[in-house]
């Protein structure tokens, strides 16, 4: 190997990255480390990014403001945390009954999604990059079994964002509670249910010890994307090759995070089942009502929010085409493979 030149020809660029996530959620937090390490590697250390966990520099849910104001040059966060600014930000993460991880990537990179979202982000002086995905999440932990839509009424559930709004339309009582406070609330019965991510992350938080009914699917998050945010002034100051280094490293982090969750979730699910967890599918009437309410909510929002409407109209067309195709080859073969087989007759 050729050694690095004694003096770097370019100026050293040092950035701070504010993550929304704690180090304990190693897979989602780790995607920012993946990016930082790769950028340093391919620029021979000339472009260095230091990653700060949620709360270290700024609170986890204020990463967008910090990047916008230039407190940090970049961040790693979920855009649906910022639906209070505009509900349209949720398209950058996940919409209930929306796109799967693969479909989200197809929309972002080749379906016009990245351009549409960047128009919105530009108003906040930010450029964003897909930077991770969890895959379809689980539907949460319930103290009691829920057999029908009627039984959901009045249940206090920790579920933030648009998913929470839809739950409210179904008669549940959504609660917004930070990660660390969920367990005691669930244990005491202050809440009846809580959703988090999926087997690997949920296992760490220990919910299975106090609520045994683990529901699926997490219909409010078919393929949640995590995004890297970059302050636009900082981006424009960056040499072209450093821009390219950031962009390619973000794409790798996007792929790697999903692959890591996919590799870790299955064994975690097996362990949870070994601890007495009951896996339960949401009753059909809940799923049907939730899907209908989701699209009512989107239609209502589009009526009053032109920025939401602009993205929604394109997203809806893309979603329809995607669902028409993925239902055919991928989804059919998966169903065939996942159907338990009778043991072959002994010869």
């Amino acid at each position: 190997a050729v050694s690095a030149p004694a003096m770097a020809a370019e100026p050293q660029v040092k950035w701070k990255l504010a993550s929304s996530f704690p180090k304990s959620l190693d897979t989602i937090y780790g995607a920012a480390e993946t990016l930082a390490n790769r950028v340093a590697q391919i620029t021979e250390g000339k472009f260095q990014i230091r990653v700060y966990a949620g709360g270290e520099l700024v609170p986890g849910l204020q990463v967008m403001d910090a990047v916008q104001q230039g407190t940090v040059e970049c961040g790693h966060t979920c855009s649906y945390y910022y639906v209070g600014k505009n509900k349209a930000f949720a398209f950058d993460t996940s919409m209930p009954f929306g796109l799967t991880a693969r479909q989200q990537n197809a929309w972002m990179y080749f379906g016009g999604g990245l351009q549409l979202m960047r128009e919105l982000f530009k108003e906040y002086n930010i450029m964003q990059f897909p930077g991770g995905n969890t895959g379809t999440q689980m539907g949460g932990w319930f103290r009691d079994e829920i057999k029908s839509l009627a039984e959901l009424k009045g249940k206090k559930m920790r579920i933030p964002g648009i998913g929470g709004e839809i739950m409210a339309r179904l008669g549940a009582v959504p609660q917004t509670i930070a990660g660390g406070d969920i367990y005691p609330a669930l244990e005491k019965g202050t809440i009846d249910a809580a959703e988090w991510v999926g087997p690997y992350d949920d296992e760490k938080l220990g919910f299975y010890k106090v609520a045994k009914n683990y529901y699926y699917p997490g219909w409010w998050e078919p393929g949640p994307q995590v995004s890297f945010y970059v302050n636009l002034d900082q981006w424009n100051k960056l040499p072209k090759e450093f821009q390219a280094a950031f962009e390619v490293a973000a794409a790798e982090a996007n792929l790697v995070m999903l692959s890591e969750y996919d590799a870790k979730n299955p064994a975690a699910l097996v362990r949870l089942l070994g601890n007495g967890v009951k896996l339960r599918q949401y009753p059909a009437d809940i799923l049907a009502a939730a899907e209908a309410e989701a699209f009512k909510l989107y239609d209502e929002e589009a009526e009053k929010n032109p920025k939401f409407k602009k993205i929604y109209v394109e997203w809806l067309k893309f979603r329809k085409l995607q669902h028409g195709w993925h239902a055919i080859a991928d989804s059919t073969l998966e169903r065939v493979m996942y159907t338990p087989k009778k043991a072959p007759a002994k010869k």
Copy 2:
């Protein structure tokens, strides 16, 4: 932006890449261009890779030999083309009823797949990187409808590799025919059926004009990976930062190719249906027999091929865990979303 230094501090590295694919298959061929462009960008042009289409330097199915012998420094190909050397190479691409695209990535990057495969490739003086995926392919074009396993018997079908071996066990007569020769054979009735990739690529080859029955799913290719091959001597001579540049660009190409197919296939399918194509699911008895024969074939191969067995044992464990998890959240939500909904009652 800072301008590039007048004199590059490192030596210029120029590589040739032999692709197995013609330029006309723009998405799969394009993944190598994606890699080459990105590597040049992030190294400020110091590491340049020139992409040659299949047949330009070496025949499409001899890329492995060319990389092994150092005729070219690197290549872009499907490892299951080389099952004649060892059937174990198929694990690097796709096994019938095996892993989906996401599961293949999880296995490669976090499930030990990359290490296992690299042990095998090392014997051929090659290091390989996942470098693209098509997603689950379609099950091919049939001149006549096939209503049962019995009707498959004697049918001449263009289908290479292990998929073809399984088809033979089901009573069909597999044929190996190069891409350009399939259409006339199908038109004349020399063959009864042919499989290729999916809607976007298949449409270009025009099969729908001479065979109207488009079957799904392509059970022999749940998530075919395309791989970048690098000659090991050349890899070891590469500066560390160029190795990192190649590796990150390969990961991006892997993600981008799948996203591009996912974005292009849905509209192509709609166009095909508009041209009178009949979409048909493989009858249940064919799918069940094919799955059973696939695992019989793997078990038989493992008995006589220790290199195959070593990978197969690990792959089988990984597959079982994956299928246990993906059947839950992702697959269930997809099924719910893809089920046609009754129009809501007018208020």
